[in-house]
C-alpha cells in the first residue's frame, strides 16, 4: 500500500504538490543536463554568446585587425571600412582594443567564478554536513562576509594596494563573492543529510570524504553551477566598475579600462560615442550570457518554473456534455458522467482519471479508495474544479452535474458563487491548507465576506458556532494555524467548511496527518455532523479500514479507472474485483481469525503507458489470457458496478479458456 506511482511522481505533479527534482536523478544527470540545455532557448542563447567570447579570448591576435595599443591612426575617427568602430582620441583602433579586452573579462569571470564556487562548496557543504560547532562558526563567517559592503571594501583595498593587477582583483573578488552560494549550498546539504541514500552510505561505513565527494556533490550540480554563474556575473560587473573609476591598471587591455579612458576623454560628447558604447555592450553581453545560463538552469532544475501546456491525447475524445441526454435527478447532489482528467508531462499527456461515472445522493457518504497515484485525489479536485493552472491537470472530457448545473462548463466567475455556500473542501494537511500568516478568524471572515453580507459581529458569532460544532473552544478563533495542534487544525478546517452548511463536503484524506486515536475520534465527529446537518460527503482515503464503518458506498479506483463501485458493506463482505479482494487481504482484521496478510505484488502501472487490456492484469492473481488483451467493460452486477471480465458474461462467452473454468 505504500507504493507510489511512477507516473504521477515523475512527470506530472499530482495534487500533492511539486517537488524540486534535485536528488532523485543522480546518475545520468550530466547527459540529461546537456539535453535540457539544448531544449531551452535561453540556455542556448547563453551558450552561443559565451562560445563567441571564448573564441575572442583564445585568438585575439588572429581576429583583431590592428595592434590595440599602437597610436598610429588619426585620432577620433568615426566608423569606416578601415576602422569598423572608429578610433580613440589617441589614434587606436577601437575594435582591436575591444577584441583584446575580452580576454581579461573572461579570465576574471572564470577565475573568480571558480574560486568563489570552490570556497562556497567547501564552506557550505562542510557546514551543512558537519553541523554543530563547525556549522555555527562557518555560518557566522558566511553571514559576516555577506553583509560586508563589497564594493567600497574593494575600493579601499585597491586604494591601499597601489598595484591592483589582475591577480589582486581575482583574489579579492573571489574571497568576498562566495558567501551567497555558500548559504544555499549549506541549506541544501542540511536537507540532504537525512535522506535515505546518505543514511545508506553511512551505514555501509563509507568515509566522510567519500560521502561528500560521491554522494552529496553530484546531487548539487545545479546549485553549484548556479553559484558559479552568479559569481561570474558579479565578477564581470565589479571588475568593469572598478576599472571604470580608474582603480585598475590604466594600461591594461580591458573593457573597463576602455570605459575609463573614454570617460576621461569625454568620448560621448566629443563625437566618439562608440568608444564608450561598445565596451559597455560587451560587458553587458558577457554578463547576460552568464545570467541567461543561470536563469535557464533555475528553470531546468525547478520544474515548477516551467510552463507546460497540455497536448490533448488523441485517443481521448471529449464527450459532449449535452449529448448524454440524461435529465438531472433531483435526489442526487452529484452526478458525474465520463469524467476524464489529464496531466501534462515531458512524455505527453497522462490520463490520471479515465472515464469515471459516479452518483451521490443527498446526505450520502461516499468513500473513494485506492493506492497512491490511482487518481482518487485528482478525481475529487476535478469535481471541485480545483485543477488547472498552476496545477497541470485539466478536465479533458465529461460532465459534472452538481445541483442541476454542469460544473465543467461553469465559468470561474459563476463558480465562485457556488463554492463554499453549496460545496466546500477539506484538504489533506491543514498545516499546508491554512494560510500561515492569517488567523483562523481572518480566514473564516474571508469566506463569509465573499459569499454573504454578514456583519463583522455575525461573522464572529458564526465562526464561534462552527468551532463549537467540531468541539474546539472558541478562544482559539484568533489563533494562527501554527499555534494549534495537528488535530485542532484539522478540526478548524472542517469547521470552516461548515460555515454555510453546504450540501456537499469534499474531503481529501482529512485524517491522514493524525495518529490513529485522533483519526478515529475525528471520523466519529464527521459522521455525527454529517447525520445532524445532512450534507453529503465524498471522502478520499487510501485506508479502507478507516471508512468501513462510516461510508454508505465505496468507490474503488485503480489506475485512473473505477474498479468497483457499490454498497460499502457488500464490498467489504463480498468483494468482486480481484483488486478489491487484494486490498482487503492487505488489512488485518481485529476480531476475525488470524490470517496471513497478503500484499499486492508489483506496483501500480505507469499511467503514461498503461498496460494493454485490463490495467490490473499484470498484478492479478486470477488473470487469464483475454485480460492482457482486451480492456474489460464496467459491468453492472446487482445494481453495483465492477470492471472485471469475470462478471462480464458476454466477454466470457467469447473467451474459450474462461468458458472452460
Amino acid at each position: 500500500m505504500t507504493v507510489t506511482s511512477g507516473a504521477v511522481a515523475a512527470g506530472a505533479p499530482g495534487p500533492g504538490g511539486f517537488e524540486h527534482v534535485v536528488a532523485e536523478t543522480r546518475r545520468g544527470f550530466g547527459r540529461d543536463l546537456v539535453r535540457a540545455v539544448a531544449r531551452n532557448r535561453k540556455a542556448m542563447a547563453g551558450v552561443v554568446l559565451l562560445a563567441f567570447f571564448l573564441v575572442l579570448t583564445l585568438f585575439p591576435g588572429e581576429i583583431a585587425p590592428h595592434d590595440p595599443m599602437a597610436s598610429i591612426f588619426q585620432p577620433g575617427l568615426g566608423p569606416s571600412r578601415e576602422h569598423w568602430l572608429g578610433t580613440t582620441s589617441y589614434g587606436q583602433d577601437i575594435l582591436s582594443q575591444l577584441i583584446w579586452g575580452t580576454r581579461q573579462s573572461v579570465i576574471i569571470a572564470f577565475a573568480v567564478g571558480g574560486l568563489a564556487t570552490a570556497i562556497a562548496v567547501l564552506v557550505g557543504v562542510s557546514a551543512g554536513y558537519l553541523g554543530g560547532a563547525s556549522d555555527g562558526f562557518l555560518s557566522l563567517v558566511t553571514d559576516v562576509i555577506l553583509v560586508i559592503p563589497i564594493f567600497p571594501l574593494i575600493i579601499v583595498i585597491t586604494a591601499y594596494e597601489k598595484s591592483s593587477g589582475l591577480t589582486t582583483l581575482v583574489i579579492v573578488l573571489g574571497a568576498l563573492g562566495w558567501s551567497y552560494g555558500a548559504r544555499q549550498l549549506r541549506a541544501q546539504t542540511l536537507s540532504l543529510r537525512t535522506r535515505d541514500f546518505l543514511e545508506a552510505a553511512r551505514v555501509r561505513g563509507e568515509r566522510r570524504s567519500y560521502v561528500i565527494l560521491y554522494e552529496i556533490l553530484p546531487t548539487m550540480t545545479s546549485l553549484i553551477v548556479a553559484s558559479f554563474l552568479g559569481a561570474a556575473v558579479f565578477a564581470v560587473l565589479f571588475a568593469a566598475g572598478l576599472q571604470f573609476i580608474g582603480l585598475g591598471d590604466p594600461n591594461a587591455q580591458s573593457w573597463g579600462t576602455m570605459l575609463y579612458w573614454a570617460e576621461n576623454n569625454e568620448a560621448l560628447g566629443a563625437g566618439m560615442p562608440l568608444w564608450a558604447i561598445a565596451p559597455g555592450v560587451c560587458v553587458a553581453l558577457l554578463g547576460a550570457a552568464f545570467a541567461l545560463l543561470n536563469y535557464a538552469f533555475d528553470e531546468i532544475s525547478n520544474p515548477a518554473l516551467r510552463l507546460r501546456r497540455l497536448d490533448r491525447p488523441p485517443d481521448v475524445e471529449p464527450r459532449d456534455a449535452a449529448a448524454s441526454g440524461e435529465p438531472p435527478d433531483p435526489d442526487r447532489v452529484l452526478q458525474v458522467r465520463g469524467l476524464s482528467v489529464a496531466y501534462t508531462s515531458d512524455e505527453g499527456a497522462v490520463v490520471a482519471v479515465d472515464n469515471v461515472d459516479l452518483d451521490l445522493g443527498r446526505g450520502e457518504f461516499l468513500a473513494v479508495v485506492g493506492e497512491s497515484g490511482c487518481g482518487k485525489s485528482t478525481l475529487v479536485y476535478a469535481i471541485a474544479r480545483l485543477l488547472g493552472p498552476p496545477f497541470s491537470g485539466e478536465i479533458i472530457g465529461g460532465q459534472i452535474m452538481f445541483q442541476g448545473r454542469d460544473m465543467v462548463t461553469l465559468a470561474e466567475r459563476q463558480l465562485r458563487h457556488v463554492r463554499w455556500r453549496e460545496f466546500s473542501v477539506v484538504m489533506q494537511s491543514a498545516m499546508n491548507a491554512l494560510n500561515p500568516v492569517l488567523t483562523i478568524a481572518a480566514q473564516m471572515r474571508d469566506a463569509c465576506k465573499a459569499h454573504s453580507t454578514m456583519s463583522d459581529r455575525e461573522i464572529e458569532e458564526r465562526s464561534r458556532e462552527v468551532l463549537r460544532l467540531v468541539s474546539i473552544d472558541p478562544i482559539h478563533l484568533h489563533s494562527y494555524p501554527h499555534q494549534l495542534s495537528g488535530g485542532m487544525r484539522q478540526r478548524a478546517m472542517i469547521a470552516m467548511a461548515l460555515l454555510f452548511t453546504p450540501d456537499l463536503v469534499i474531503m481529501d484524506e482529512p485524517t491522514s496527518a493524525l495518529d490513529v486515536v485522533a483519526q478515529r475520534s475525528l471520523m466519529m465527529q464527521i459522521k455525527e455532523l454529517q447525520q445532524r446537518l445532512g450534507f453529503a460527503v465524498v471522502f478520499v482515503t487510501h485506508d479502507m479500514s478507516l471508512v468501513s464503518h462510516f461510508s454508505d458506498r465505496l468507490l474503488v479506483m485503480y489506475a485512473g479507472q473505477v474498479a468497483e463501485f457499490g454498497d460499502t458493506r457488500r464490498v467489504f463482505d463480498t468483494p468482486r474485483h480481484p483488486y478489491t479482494r487484494a486490498l482487503l487481504e492487505a488489512f488485518p482484521s481485529i476480531r476475525g481469525p488470524k490470517t496471513h496478510l497478503l500484499g499486492i505484488p508489483g506496483s501500480p502501472p505507469d499511467l503514461a503507458r498503461p498496460p494493454s487490456g485490463c490495467r490490473f492484469s499484470p498484478r492479478c492473481p486470477v488473470a487469464r489470457p483475454t485480460c492482457h488483451a482486451t480492456p474489460p467493460r464496467l459491468v453492472e452486477v446487482e445494481s453495483d458496478l465492477v470492471r472485471c471480465v469475470l462478471y462480464d458474461d458476454a466477454a466470457l462467452e467469447r473467451d474459450p479458456v474462461a468458458a472452460e473454468s
Binding site: V147, P149, E263, L268, A276, A288, N302, R419
Partner: protein, 228 residues
C-alpha cells in the same frame, strides 16, 4: 548623506515595490504577456553595468537631446534654499540617475518575486482560497503575495543597506553630491580617515537595514513571533 538617501534610497524602495508588484502579476497571469516577455528582458538588463547605462542616458538625454541636466545635484545658478525652484531643480537633476538605478535594480525583484509567487501558488492554502470562492485579487494579495514576499524581505533590507555602496558609481558618473561621491574623493585624495569613517557608516547602514528587515518579518509573519 541626505542626497544619497533621497536619490538612491527612494529609488531602491520604488524598485522593490514596482518590481514586486510586476513579479506578482506576472506569476499570477502565468503565460500572459508580462510573464512571457519581461523575465528574459530583465535577466539581460540585470547584467548591465549600470554606470554604463548612466553614461548612455547622459549621452542621449543631455548631450544629444538636451532635455535633462547631466550632472550635479542641482544647477550651479540655483540658490540652495527651501524654494519651489530649488526643489524642481533637484528633482530635474535626479531623474536620470534615478531612472538608471531603477532600470537595473527592478529586474532582480521582478524575477525573484515571480519565482516565489509561482511556488506559493502551488501551495495548498492558495488552492483552499480558490475553493472558498474568494475574489481573485484577494487570493493574489493576502494569500499568494503576502506569503511570497516574505523571503524577499531580507534581500530588500540588504539592498537598502547597500544603498550607499551602490550609489558610488552612479554618483561618480553624475557628479552627484552624495556619500558615494565623497567616498571616491577620499580615495583619490588618499584621505584614509574619511575613507574609514565612511566605510564604517556604510557597514552600520547595512546592519541597521537587516535589523529593520527582521522587525518587518516579525510583523508580517506570525510564525516568527512567539518563540518564548
Amino acid at each position: 548623506m541626505p542626497w544619497t538617501l533621497g536619490l538612491v534610497g527612494l529609488t531602491t524602495i520604488f524598485a522593490f515595490l514596482i518590481g514586486t508588484f510586476i513579479g506578482l502579476i506576472a506569476a499570477w497571469r502565468r503565460g500572459g504577456f508580462l510573464d512571457g516577455v519581461l523575465p528574459p528582458i530583465f535577466v539581460i538588463t540585470s547584467a548591465f553595468p549600470y554606470f554604463w547605462l548612466a553614461l548612455l542616458a547622459i549621452w542621449l538625454f543631455s548631450i544629444e537631446l538636451g532635455w535633462l541636466p547631466a550632472n550635479g545635484g542641482y544647477g550651479i545658478k540655483t540658490e540652495e534654499a527651501w524654494s519651489w525652484t530649488f526643489a524642481g531643480d533637484v528633482l530635474e537633476h535626479s531623474i536620470l540617475p534615478a531612472v538608471t538605478i531603477l532600470v537595473t535594480a527592478i529586474g532582480g525583484w521582478i524575477l525573484t518575486m515571480r519565482n516565489n509567487t509561482i511556488s506559493v501558488l502551488a501551495e495548498d492554502y492558495v488552492r483552499m482560497a480558490r475553493a472558498k470562492g474568494l475574489k481573485p485579487w484577494r487570493i493574489m494579495w493576502t494569500y499568494a503575495g503576502r506569503n511570497a514576499i516574505l523571503p524577499n524581505l531580507t534581500g530588500f533590507a540588504m539592498s537598502l543597506g547597500f544603498v550607499v555602496s551602490g550609489a558610488i558609481l552612479v554618483e561618480f558618473v553624475f557628479n552627484y553630491p552624495g556619500v558615494g561621491w565623497m567616498f571616491l574623493q577620499s580615495v583619490e585624495n588618499q584621505d584614509y580617515a574619511l575613507m574609514q569613517g565612511l566605510f564604517l557608516l556604510i557597514t552600520v547602514a547595512v546592519l541597521l537595514a537587516i535589523l529593520a528587515a527582521d522587525v518587518a518579518t516579525v510583523i508580517l509573519d506570525p510564525r516568527t513571533r512567539d518563540r518564548s
